[in-house]
């Protein structure tokens, strides 16, 4: 018996070599391309949101409900028409638009009597809830006592709120009233980290800024952008799944709000 070349084995070897030649450059082609981040969290407030609007989509004009919660006893006031409103205790629910910067005043902070913090909120993306459920699923923004104290000490706190990717979510049990957060180092960009972990929807900035004088000027309030404040708890809408009527924007006084231009039927179903 001699060791001769088997044609089947030779054929296998040829296939193996051919595959290796094809796959090696292919591996480079499938590699993750480098991502260039155009936005940073330390950009001027409103810059990231405005850039998002330039990308298009149904972002402009939509009032995304945002729920701001503060420590017990604190009063949260929103900037309305050149001043702050009388404020709500601990929690406020309001619809905010992407691209604007909303100034708030947090007063009556526990253990910091007489001191005030003026955080800002900037929305950079929106949610797409089922019809009638938008106010039930707002973007939660938590102002913790620790962060308010840090802001009063002169620190600058940036908090980027992101939507978790469900399949990559941490297997932890969340408390509904407490927002989970990750602390990052000084050299890292929170917007970039949040983008890697999910979809950033809002940026909270807090600290190092107080209004000049007794009356805040328009620049400090970012000219009081349009706001849709929910004065009562939104009622849970009975679902009529699959048969919902198209939502109309809320009325402004007696006038019906601006209607979003709807896509034609064929365009909606086109993938």
């Amino acid at each position: 018996m001699s060791l001769t070349a088997d044609p089947i084995m030779l054929h296998r070897l040829t296939k193996f070599a051919l595959l290796a030649v094809l796959l090696v450059p292919g591996g480079f082609a499938f590699a993750q391309p480098p991502v260039h981040y155009q936005n940073r969290a330390d950009m001027p407030p409103g810059e990231v949101g405005q850039r998002q609007l330039l990308r298009g989509g149904l972002l402009a004009g939509y009032f995304q409900p945002v729920e701001v919660t503060a420590p017990k006893g604190a009063i949260v006031s929103l900037a309305v028409e050149g001043g702050f409103d009388q404020g709500d205790k601990e929690s406020v629910l309001a619809g905010m638009q992407i691209g604007y910067v909303y100034r708030m005043r947090v007063a009556n902070i526990p253990d910091h009597a007489g001191e005030e913090v003026y955080p800002t909120i900037e929305l950079v993306d929106r949610l797409y809830p089922p019809p009638g459920q938008a106010a039930r699923f707002p973007v939660p923004i938590e102002l913790t006592a620790e962060e308010l104290a840090l802001a009063l000490e002169g620190r600058f706190v940036t908090r980027v709120i992101y939507l978790e990717e469900p399949r990559a979510a941490l297997p932890v049990k969340d408390e509904p009233k407490k927002q989970r957060y990750f602390e990052i180092g000084a050299g890292q960009d929170p917007l970039k980290v949040a983008d890697q972990m999910g979809r950033p929807v809002a940026i909270l900035r807090m600290g190092s800024r107080v209004p000049d004088g007794l009356t805040p000027d328009g620049k400090f309030l970012y000219h009081s952008p349009p706001l849709l404040k929910f004065t009562t708890t939104p009622v849970e809408v009975k679902r009529n799944e699959g048969l919902e009527e198209p939502q109309l924007p809320p009325k402004v006084g007696d006038r019906q709000g601006r209607t979003f231009k709807r896509l034609p039927e064929g365009e909606i179903k086109r993938r």
Binding site: P131, V157, E164, K173, R180, Y181
Partner: protein, 423 residues
């Protein structure tokens, strides 16, 4: 005057009649209606359910509900054209306007619902989904171990009459439940920035002393060698021989401890190709050949593959048994809610039916929960007798497993329910 009043009265009466006829309550679809009392009386436990008629007028017997494990109104068998999921005549997770017959939907179809006026695709990271076979790689091995069950997967496997093991996946159920987290960054801003610059320098000291170091021109060596001693070479060599027997062992030093038992060939040890090594070398080549396919080392001698050519075909007989009917198990999954906040509880129901043409046995239903769903301990229930156990999966959630103890006859089915908390 009386005539005018009479005409006016007649007009009002006619108008109100017209309104009544136009604003009548729209009739709902028959599939969602509750069974009428007389139909309840006629449909017994063993009588066939006759639900619709074909164009010729003869009633079509859809299926006979014989399983006591199902509710009375349960329906088994092949779903008809009027079946849309059983809820108000419409599938709860289908896109608006899709009123087609029931079918198992794919992942892409489940997410075809879109907010009003938004073109597809749209972000679906606000939904958590469960069900189906996400990578379509679930499989059952010969030892009945199941592989390829990923998070979100819901499958059932069963054994057919001819001993084959089949696997089937359920549909996918999506629940709107966005969850948020935050990334925090705390810095200390620079409040005051001051630039200082040196304006001038004034030095009052002057040079008032200068030392010059001279280079040495003469070197005096203090001591000289006084003598030299020569070393004589060896001129006498004494050899001493012992009278004993000299024993010497020549061993290949480099080979000791280097070759492994299976390398005991003259070809490998000494480079000599011996005829006696041929059969043993062929065996080793065969072993190498087994590992050839992209797995391990290859044996190549003189550029050619080392092979052992031997016939392995023997006398054998193949018998093929063809049994009547095809096995098929259908599993469908529904959720109690379409949206849920963190901390809320969602109830899932799995409905399985033997819609094939032969009974199946060893039916096992497996549901691997996604990371954000936490099984509520003790909340499961099964309409048929089943052995229930759990196991932790990759997403630190649980894999739920129901193994039915009894075979499933044709047109028989059952229901499994369990609760999950959204986390």
């Amino acid at each position: 005057m009386n005539t005018t009043y009479g005409r006016l009265l007649a007009l009002v009466v006619l108008g109100s009649l017209g309104f009544c006829s136009c604003r009548g309550v729209p009739k709902r679809e028959t599939s969602s209606e509750s069974p009428r009392p007389e139909s309840k009386a006629t449909i017994g436990q063993n009588s066939p359910i006759v639900s619709r008629a074909n164009p010729t007028g003869n009633p079509i017997v859809l299926a006979q509900h014989t399983s006591p494990a199902l509710p009375f109104s349960a329906y088994t068998g092949d779903p008809g054209q009027d079946y849309h999921g059983g809820m108000s005549g419409h599938c709860p997770h289908c896109s608006p306007g899709s009123s087609g017959p029931f079918h198992f939907s794919s992942h892409a179809e489940e997410l075809q619902w879109a907010p009003d006026g938004i073109a597809l695709p749209w972000p679906h990271d606000e939904y958590i989904c469960d069900g189906g076979d996400i990578n379509e790689d679930a499989n059952i091995k010969k030892d009945e171990s199941v592989v390829g069950v990923d998070q979100e997967d819901t499958i059932a496997h069963y054994k057919t009459l001819d001993g084959r093991k089949e696997i089937t996946a359920s549909n996918k159920v999506c629940i709107y439940a966005p969850r948020f987290a935050a990334v925090r960054h705390v810095t200390v801003p620079i409040i005051t920035e001051v630039h200082e610059r040196m304006a001038g320098i004034e030095k009052t000291d002057k040079l008032n002393l200068h030392d010059k170091t001279f280079v040495p021109t003469t070197a005096i060596q203090p001591e000289a060698p006084r003598g030299e001693q020569g070393i004589d070479l060896a001129s006498i060599f004494r050899e001493r021989k012992a009278g004993n027997e000299l024993a010497r062992t020549n061993a290949p030093y480099m080979a000791r401890g280097e070759f492994l038992p299976f390398e005991d060939f003259a070809l490998i040890r000494r480079g000599v190709y011996e005829q006696g090594d041929k059969p043993r070398l062929a065996i080793s080549a065969q072993a190498a050949e087994v590992w050839l396919d992209k797995k391990a080392v290859q044996v190549v001698i003189d550029g050619k593959m080392a092979v052992e050519a031997a016939g392995v075909s023997g006398s054998q007989e193949t018998r093929v048994y063809e049994l009547e009917g095809k096995p098929r198990l259908r599993i469908c999954k529904v959720a109690s809610k379409s949206d849920a906040k963190v901390g809320e509880t969602v109830e899932f129901t799995l409905r399985y039916d033997n819609i094939g043409e032969q009974p199946v046995s060893n039916v096992t239903i497996i549901d691997s929960l996604t990371t954000r769903l936490e099984y509520v301990e003790g909340s499961q229930s099964s309409s048929r007798e089943a052995k229930f156990d759990t196991q932790e999966n990759d997403g630190e959630s649980l894999v739920l497993r129901w193994a039915l103890t009894e075979p499933l006859k044709v047109n028989e089915g059952g229901i499994v329910r369990f609760q999950c908390r959204v986390r």
